[in-house]
């Protein structure tokens, strides 16, 4: 049975960015056991499964690409138990898409819960959920028709030429039931106000099978597109391949044997804010939902 979470935080602002000012304050009411995650039994004999899930996913990806686009459905699963909160994915995303300051398609939240010395800490990577019924698309297209669309493989896309300006950005952001999905591109450089703008910032970013200079994406709304240019070239999204904890899975949900399908079917996976009924393509895995996520997400 899949647990349903609501991302609306009821009691207090619980999630903060890893890089943000505060990694959660401890609520006095939440004293919990120090014994976490560990399920108590050791597999015997303890043998390492020398599997290479990256290669398996790559192989599945190639299989999926053989099919026509409408026959595949991309999905991402994030096993938060394995996330170490390193934010390698965030930087990989910036580097892959040559993103300007203020924009990253992926952030990792850090949550500390409990009171000294009975503590828990979680890391929660989030990005655009690539919803099957995305509320942002209608909201954006109402203001500027053709701003956003949904590809047959489930990826929600933005037309950078059309989706310009704060108004459409804010409308889409407001309509989105998730935080940290949409970003506004102010066209800045990381090396502005230094002795020289560096060459990597002058390179064009390759997204949606096109190339964009920084000028061209200025004032556009930006968001995760599952690294579609990577996946269509037989590579995994940048965040997935760089994940140091191998906490992320990516693949074709229409292939019942794929790793992501296994996770989707598993009892421990869930979607955030299912109540919004947008059918997100990104799922999460965690133990003890009642004791963790559900404490703050209704």
């Amino acid at each position: 049975m899949t647990k349903v979470l609501d991302e609306k935080i009821s009691r207090r602002s619980f999630f903060t960015k890893t890089g943000g000012a505060v990694a959660g304050t401890a609520a006095a009411s939440m004293v919990i056991s120090t014994v976490l995650n560990y399920k108590g039994t050791l597999a015997k004999p303890a043998v390492v499964a020398e599997t290479n899930e990256t290669l398996t996913m790559l192989s599945e990806l190639k299989e999926a690409l053989k099919k026509s686009i409408e026959k595949r459905k991309w999905a991402m699963v994030i096993d938060t138990r394995k996330c170490i909160g390193c934010s390698g994915c965030t930087v990989a995303c910036i580097a892959q898409n040559n993103l300007p300051p203020g924009v990253t398609y992926r952030v990792v939240h850090e949550v500390e819960d409990g009171e000294y010395p009975d503590l828990k800490r979680f890391f929660m990577p989030t990005n655009c959920m690539q919803c099957e019924k995305p509320t942002c698309v209608d909201a954006a297209n109402k203001i500027i028709p053709g701003s956003m669309s949904i590809r047959p493989d489930g990826i929600v896309t933005i037309d950078y030429k059309k989706m310009k300006g704060k108004k459409v950005f804010q409308a889409a952001k407001k309509a989105c039931p998730y935080s940290n999905a949409l970003y506004y591109d102010e066209g800045k450089n990381y090396t502005d106000n230094t002795p020289a703008i560096q060459p990597y910032e002058k390179m064009k970013s390759k997204e949606y099978k096109k190339e964009f200079s920084r000028k061209e994406t200025k004032d556009a709304t930006r968001k995760c597109h599952f690294c579609l240019d990577r996946i269509e070239n037989g590579m995994l999204p940048a965040c997935v391949s760089t994940c140091t904890g191998q906490a992320m899975y990516f693949g074709d949900a229409n292939n019942p044997a794929s790793i992501v399908s296994k996770y989707i079917k598993s009892k421990q996976s869930f979607v955030l804010n299912a109540g919004a009924k947008t059918s997100p393509a990104v799922r999460f895995v965690h133990d003890n939902l009642d004791e963790t996520c559900l404490k703050c997400h209704e």
Partner: protein, 1071 residues
């Protein structure tokens, strides 16, 4: 299990395989990785999958494999290039750091091109270290006082000439109009190889003299014998200071193999200075030097030859990881490979983690148990566990009883200890001849040299037995807990001494010292002894970087010895590399023979390492002016302060490479004061990428290239089971300007600086025939490519890598088409290694190094790249040595010592109002002094914080975000005095957390810069504005406690040499 396995191996159904993958804690799967991995890669690369508009970035010809250097982990990288610009860095799938398990080494490049491994955020941001707007590209010369941040760009030729010839180099600077700087030329005093060798032998003789009088006589003899050459000496009355050459020092921060040999060749083997010093003690010196002590071997009558290294956990197979002061997924050599292995085993239910650390580290968030211990009490903790384990007889008797190699083999072990060896009351081992158990025996070594063997002794069932520790035929085992008398000698075993050291306090008393509960210690001891060999107590910086660091580490490693986990899968393992120096059979380039006129440096180093105070000509009773270090080296915090004290002798010229001592060291501000004193350091030449926290005090800065533009051999770390040698090699065109050296145009790099000086000084071992007959040494690659050939050759004939195919040769060249001739010239490169080795060199470089396949690292449950030698839990050599300050014998066994200065006086500043105990930690986005240049990392972590427990915050009235100033007994003003008129206060922002022990505060390293692009500098009269984003946060090292006796350096470990990072009490004041 077996059946599942077979299904996979026959490869008839990939779905079957997927069903059995360990999803969501499912069953363990044993796989023969290399058959199916090959199939998957092949599958992934066939079929009609490649879209027409193939991404340039997935083409092998746009990829160069190399090695990261954003920290010292050494992850393999694959750099993707567009038009010669590095645009994206990925993990190298051939590297065991970045893919677990790595793809088979022989996988063709065409198949690996779109397989990306993982990297941490620093690795992902690495191209910003290269494309940094604050990099220097020309040689800079000081155009104002030291530290005044005024520079002029000068030509490479001018810089080299001035440094070599000396003169009134800074006559334009006020106060220095008449100062004459001595150049390298006059300090290159002793050049005669024969004389140097004879002097060295004569100095050895002086050292051996027992009394001051005898030494005096020997010195007079020396003066007579070398009367013609006394002008080459620093001080003829003290020949053991060595020649004037020693007044030139070369000091480095992060340095790996290749460049290490390059520097050593220059400063030691050619210039003849003994002062070539690294920075080990600021990292985890006492971890290395405990490893060295414990790996000491009995060779030809002497205990000698310990390795400067340490052991770490086989994280892929361990069942119980007790991480002590070890931030496994933030620092501690790599989140990449550790995280992948640990997280998988954790969710699969195969691993338990417990963490002993005053801070709730990230690894603690994955642990079932967090023990917030008081800093500096790790030995007390380990001794409590040791006591429980011995008293409850939970130790591995078979392992510990084995007294020699044969016994270990018989017991099914690869290594053995001296736990059962008998030790006399005076601390030395009982020898068989002393109790007439056996006669001394004359033996010959392989060179025919005779040595005397006097067997060691164990007691077995009351009977003494003589043995040879290295005997691989006659197994000898000894009783473990012995306290008896044999003849006239009172004897105890090593383990008995360990037990007695652990039994000086009850477990409750130990727990009290640690500020934790005895029941937690017992619970951990039970768990630790419940996994056979697959448990490890793993110490790191948190254990080593204290004044008692050496004995803390010894206690934790002794704890491991009790379960005998060395060389076992899931136990303690060591690093193994393919060697670069040609010392293996059949290697084409034997570097040992490639220096035609190698000089042997002689004399005591300025940090007095590898030498006993009592043997020197300046021995004058206790205390000595500064500490001496017979068992440690690379004592970073002693280098500049010893120059200030001119102890044992004055220094003149300082070279630094990748060094930021003022920033990195605790109490590093003392270095600033010394560096600005022209009398203490008369000429300072820095090699750096930017104008850094140390190089800003230099007279000349030679620009270096970054890790994406150069060579190095990164070696391995003890947690990597495979034999490896990652090869760092030029990926992009160097961004520095060029110079002509030995008639060849080359980019400004560390190597070019050295080559230029060597040319000007006409140093042996460089230039024409510099590497031997018909082997010129004109350029960096003349030195490095032969090393790659040695790696390709492997351990012995038959171990060579395959030749690169024609296709891969083409890819190799195509991927380097953007490199200028000053760096890459395929014909020249090929000529260096010769046709025979070229294709093998390309095979290695195409993969960013040589990496053994995972399956070869283990044989059953045992580790194949084994340590396999004696492990000392009792250190006889130490008991026979004294502290140069206290004159007291060193301890030879795991022991607990309170935090103290070098005189042994306990440090306690609480009565003076300094009540908060300060610790530091690693944030994954920063590597000490050098990653603030990476803006993508600052985007994640714009600043650091002063972490404080909510109870303390309440007590002191601090709120989240409050700004607080650090003060301490050593720094009551709470500032960095930059000695250029600027005092930078140590002010940080409070972050109130639960995850730190009350009474402890912490800040992460990497912020709070004052140089490195964070402040304005003037070059050629033009102001270069600093970037405030590089100056954020706080760096409170200047608050760290100085040693009351030494005064100009931090508290330190007098045995292992480590600096103390975690022994300072501070006061925080709201500002």
């Amino acid at each position: 299990m077996k059946n599942e396995n077979e299904k996979i191996e026959t490869g008839n159904n990939r779905r079957e395989f997927l069903k059995t993958t360990a999803l969501l804690g499912g069953g363990a799967v044993v796989l023969s990785q290399f058959s199916w991995a090959q199939n998957l890669i092949a599958k992934a690369n066939t079929g009609s999958l490649t879209p027409a508009e193939a991404s340039q970035l997935s083409l092998a010809e746009n990829i160069v494999h190399s090695v990261c250097l954003q920290c010292n982990t050494g992850c393999g990288i694959k750099v993707k290039l567009l038009d010669g610009v590095a645009v994206k860095i990925e993990g190298n799938p051939y590297s065991p750091w970045t893919m677990v398990p790595s793809i088979p080494f022989k996988t063709p490049l065409s198949e690996s091109a779109n397989i990306d491994g993982s990297l941490c955020p620093k690795g992902q941001a690495g191209l910003q270290t290269t494309y940094d707007p604050y990099r220097i590209v020309k040689v800079l010369k000081r155009d104002g006082k030291r530290g005044e941040k005024k520079w002029k760009a000068i030509s490479f030729e001018q810089a080299v000439t001035e440094i070599v010839n000396g003169g009134k180099l800074f006559s334009n600077v006020k106060g220095e109009e008449n100062r004459t700087v001595e150049g390298l030329k006059s300090l290159f005093a002793l050049k005669d190889l024969k004389v140097a060798k004879e002097m060295s032998a004569a100095v050895d003789e002086i050292r051996k003299k027992k009394t001051v009088e005898e030494k005096k006589t020997a010195v007079e003899e020396f003066k007579k014998k070398f009367a013609q050459h006394l002008d080459t000496m620093i001080d003829a009355e003290h020949p053991d200071f060595g020649p004037k050459n020693n007044q030139v020092s070369f000091v480095w921060g992060r340095l790996k193999a290749g460049r290490a040999e390059f520097i050593k060749r220059f400063i030691s083997e050619s210039f003849g200075s003994t002062n070539a010093h690294g920075h080990t003690t600021v990292c985890q010196g006492s971890l290395y030097f405990t490893g060295k002590a414990m790996s000491d071997q009995f060779v030809e009558g002497k205990l000698t030859g310990g390795q400067k290294f340490y052991w770490q956990t086989d994280t892929g197979n361990v069942e119980f990881l007790l991480a002590i002061g070890s931030a496994y997924i933030e620092g501690g050599y790599g989140p990449t490979h550790h995280a992948k292995k640990l997280m998988k085993n954790l969710v699969d239910g195969k691993l338990k983690i417990a963490v002993v650390d005053p801070r709730f580290s990230k690894i603690a968030s994955k642990a079932y148990k967090w023990i917030p211990i008081k800093p500096g009490t790790d030995a007390a903790f380990a001794l409590a566990m040791i006591r429980w384990i011995i008293e409850n007889k939970k130790f591995d008797v078979k392992f510990l009883e084995s007294a020699n190699k044969a016994a270990a083999t018989k017991a099914g072990e690869l290594s053995w200890t001296n736990s059962s060896w008998l030790v006399k009351e005076d601390g030395s081992f009982l020898r068989a001849s002393e109790i007439k158990l056996a006669e001394k025996e004359k033996r010959q070594n392989k060179d025919g040299k005779e040595w005397e063997f006097d067997p060691f002794v164990v007691l077995r069932n009351g009977q003494p037995i003589a043995f040879d520790p290295n005997d691989d035929k006659n197994a000898v085992t000894g009783d473990l807990l012995v306290d008896t008398k044999i003849g006239e000698f009172k004897v105890k075993t090593g383990l008995q001494l360990v037990y007695e050291s652990a039994a000086v306090k009850t477990i409750e008393q130990w727990a009290d010292i640690c500020g934790i509960e005895a029941k937690d210690i017992i619970e951990l001891a039970v768990e630790f002894t419940s996994h056979g060999k697959k448990a490890v107590a793993d110490p790191h910086r948190g254990v080593a970087q204290h004044t008692n660091g050496f004995y803390n580490v010894l206690a934790v490693y002794t704890l491991n010895a009790l379960i005998g986990n060395w060389d076992w899968k899931g136990g303690l393992i060591k690093a193994t590399t393919y060697s670069i120096d040609g010392s293996k059979e059949g290697n084409p380039f034997v570097f040992g023979k490639m220096h035609p006129n190698k000089i042997t440096p002689l004399g005591i180093s300025i940090i007095r390492h590898d030498v006993k105070y009592e043997e020197s000509t300046i021995f004058s009773g206790y205390p000595a002016k500064r500490q001496w270090y017979p068992f440690a080296s690379d004592i970073y915090e002693e280098i500049i302060p010893s120059m200030a004290d001119a102890y044992p002798y004055p220094s003149k010229v300082l070279f630094t490479y990748m060094a930021a001592a003022p920033y990195s060291l605790p109490g590093g501000q003392t270095n600033i004061e010394i560096l600005t004193n022209l009398d203490k350091v008369s000429l300072y030449i820095a090699n750096d990428i930017t104008i850094g926290e140390m190089s800003m005090y230099a007279d000349y800065i030679f620009p270096d290239v970054t890790y994406l533009e150069r060579w190095e051999f990164h070696g391995s770390h003890p947690s990597i089971p495979q034999k490896v040698q990652p090869v760092r090699n030029p990926v992009i065109a160097p961004l520095t300007t060029t110079a002509k050296v030995f008639g060849e145009e080359q980019p400004l790099t560390l190597e070019t600086m050295i080559l230029g000086i060597a040319e000007k000084l006409n140093l042996p071992g460089f230039g024409k025939d510099g590497l031997g007959k018909d082997r010129n040494f004109y350029r960096a690659e003349d030195f490095y490519l032969p090393m790659v050939a040695n790696i390709a050759a492997g351990d012995k004939p038959g171990d060579e890598v395959p030749d690169a195919t024609d296709e891969e040769l083409k890819i190799f060249e195509a991927a380097r088409k953007h490199l200028p001739k000053t760096v890459f010239d395929v014909q020249r490169w090929k000529a260096i290694v010769g046709e025979q080795w070229w294709k093998k060199v390309v095979f290695v470089m195409n993969r960013g190094g040589r990496f053994q396949d995972y399956e070869k690292a283990f044989e059953g449950e045992k580790f194949k790249n084994k340590y396999g030698q004696l492990i000392n839990v009792y250190l006889e050599k130490y008991v026979k040595s004294k502290s140069a300050i206290t004159g007291k014998k060193l301890a030879g066994i795991a022991s607990y010592f309170p935090i103290a200065d070098v005189t042994g006086k306990e440090v306690n500043d609480e009565p003076d109002g300094f009540k908060l105990h300060m610790i530091t930690f690693r944030d994954i986005t920063q590597t000490k002094s050098r990653t603030i240049v990476d803006y993508w990392l600052s985007a994640i972590r714009p600043e650091n914080f002063v972490m404080i427990n909510s109870a303390d915050a309440k007590q002191y009235g601090f709120k989240e975000g409050d700004k607080v100033k650090f003060t301490s007994k050593s720094n009551p003003e709470g500032v960095w005095d930059l000695k250029n008129g600027i005092k930078k206060p140590m002010i940080g922002k409070v972050k109130v957390v639960e995850g730190i022990r009350p009474g402890i505060i912490g800040f992460s390293l990497g912020h709070g810069h004052w140089a490195n692009g964070s402040s304005d500098v003037i070059i050629d009269g033009k102001k270069i504005k600093g970037d405030p984003r590089r100056a954020t946060g706080v760096h409170a090292n200047a608050a760290m406690r100085l040693d009351d006796y030494l005064k100009n350096t931090c508290l330190l470990d007098p045995v292992g040499g480590s600096v103390s990072f975690y022994d300072t009490k501070v006061k925080l004041t709201k500002v």
